[in-house]
Subunit: 221 residues, 2 copies
DNA sequence: ATAGTATTCAACTAATCACTTGATTAGTGT
DNA sequence: ACACTAATCAAGTGATTAGTTGAATACTAT
């Protein structure tokens, strides 16, 4: 094999991974997979894609090395092939945030009051949880919460938030998080809570980033 | 803007960055850009693509936010938009190495004697340079060397290596590096040096990674 | 002005991609 | 064996992509 071809073939392999991340629907599927293992029809439901389409996207993710699959009975479960994939997705997000003008514009315009929603970094949250100063609110669906969450967090999915508002200690600051740094659930939750007069902020990242950072996690047994 | 659309639009923006990395030629251009600013025709020459094709790829990189351009006289110079792009490319490489079977196979088969070429990590090299134990060899072309290199490194491009072998202190271990973790120049250099009976190893990363890690660098003034 | 160089633009072709639809395979429960 | 469900496959459509070629633009030097 000549050095020239070796080089090009190698870049071709890297490009396969890039291709896997070149489609919005696949990126959304990857974000769901970052929460934990999921079956094809769960992913189809939650992403709003047809089952056949979802299946095809997932197969591409598997072929590019980003995901693994496992068959159990009727169902096929997909999962990320490793935590390095979460690191890669976050690197993608960081670059997009820093250099794609539209991303910054979108994030800011979706949240009219940007400054007051200044997100709290992981380490700071960990400290304040230790000191008992904050209520941590996980606004993801119950299944995702069950698969792993920030220690001490309470789980109220966004849909139920209004109804279950009384469960939240309104004297403490609330820190909401969900699937990732731009997951809208947390943005919406903070907006709702602030409307009710509570003090609320957003965690800078989501659960997958917390987990990859090696911070303590808790699971429903 | 509904939350559903916000989410999808955001992933669409992320996908633009993924698209930029979904093509082998663009990834190769990005690796060259990671060495420093380059004009379109330099990039065309070194990548072996036509000028028009190179120009179009570079425009895509600019539109996706990965690169910036600057016109000076007749020439247009492109550069990476930030060091976070190097971080992203490395995250891509890591995932490909870990999960794309072909990458591992290719890297190992190109170098028949893998174990003896065990690369040396950045920090270890830095120590050994301080202690004066190794000769650091930069096998990139002179222009890239000039734009920045590891302190104390000598520059002999791969083509000239055989002719300039006498310039190398054959009593010391030699550590070769080039553009990135898989840059073949360093692989080839190590193979050549070993053939001549010298002790040679490869730096684990290339110059861009060294620079992003915040380690000291040296430039030709 | 004129010639020369670097880059981009515009038009086109072949290949690949995203998605739909309907059929097919694999496993479960009766 | 039969019906049912989850997932995949196969074929087809319209859209996008990578590349070529030749013309157009922008700047420099004579």
């Amino acid at each position: 094999m000549s050095s020239k071809n070796f080089k090009h073939d190698l870049f071709d392999q890297f490009a396969r991974v890039g291709k896997a991340m070149s489609n919005a629907n696949r990126l959304e599927l990857l974000e769901f997979l970052a929460q934990g293992e999921r079956s094809v029809d769960e992913l189809a439901k939650v992403s709003g894609l047809s089952v056949a389409n979802t299946s095809q996207h997932l197969q591409q993710l598997r072929q590019s090395g980003l995901a693994h699959s496992r068959k159990q009975g009727l169902k096929v479960f997909y999962r990320l092939s490793g935590n390095d994939v979460i690191t890669l997705l976050d690197a993608l997000r960081v670059v997009a945030e820093n250099h794609v003008a539209e991303v910054d514009k979108m994030v800011n315009s979706y949240l009219t009051v940007k400054d007051s929603l200044e997100p709290i970094p992981r380490e700071e949250l960990l400290e304040r949880v230790r000191d008992g100063l904050v209520t941590v609110l996980d606004v993801r669906p119950a299944e995702e919460f069950a698969a792993g969450h920030v220690p001490g967090a309470i789980n109220i999915s966004l849909n139920d938030l209004e109804a279950r508002l009384s469960e939240i200690d309104s004297t403490q600051e609330i820190v909401a998080y969900c699937r990732g740094p731009h997951c809208v659930l947390a943005f919406d939750a903070v907006a709702q809570l602030r409307e009710k007069g509570l003090t609320a902020r957003r965690l800078e990242d989501g659960y997958p980033e917390w987990m990859v950072a090696g911070l303590p996690i808790e699971k429903v047994s």
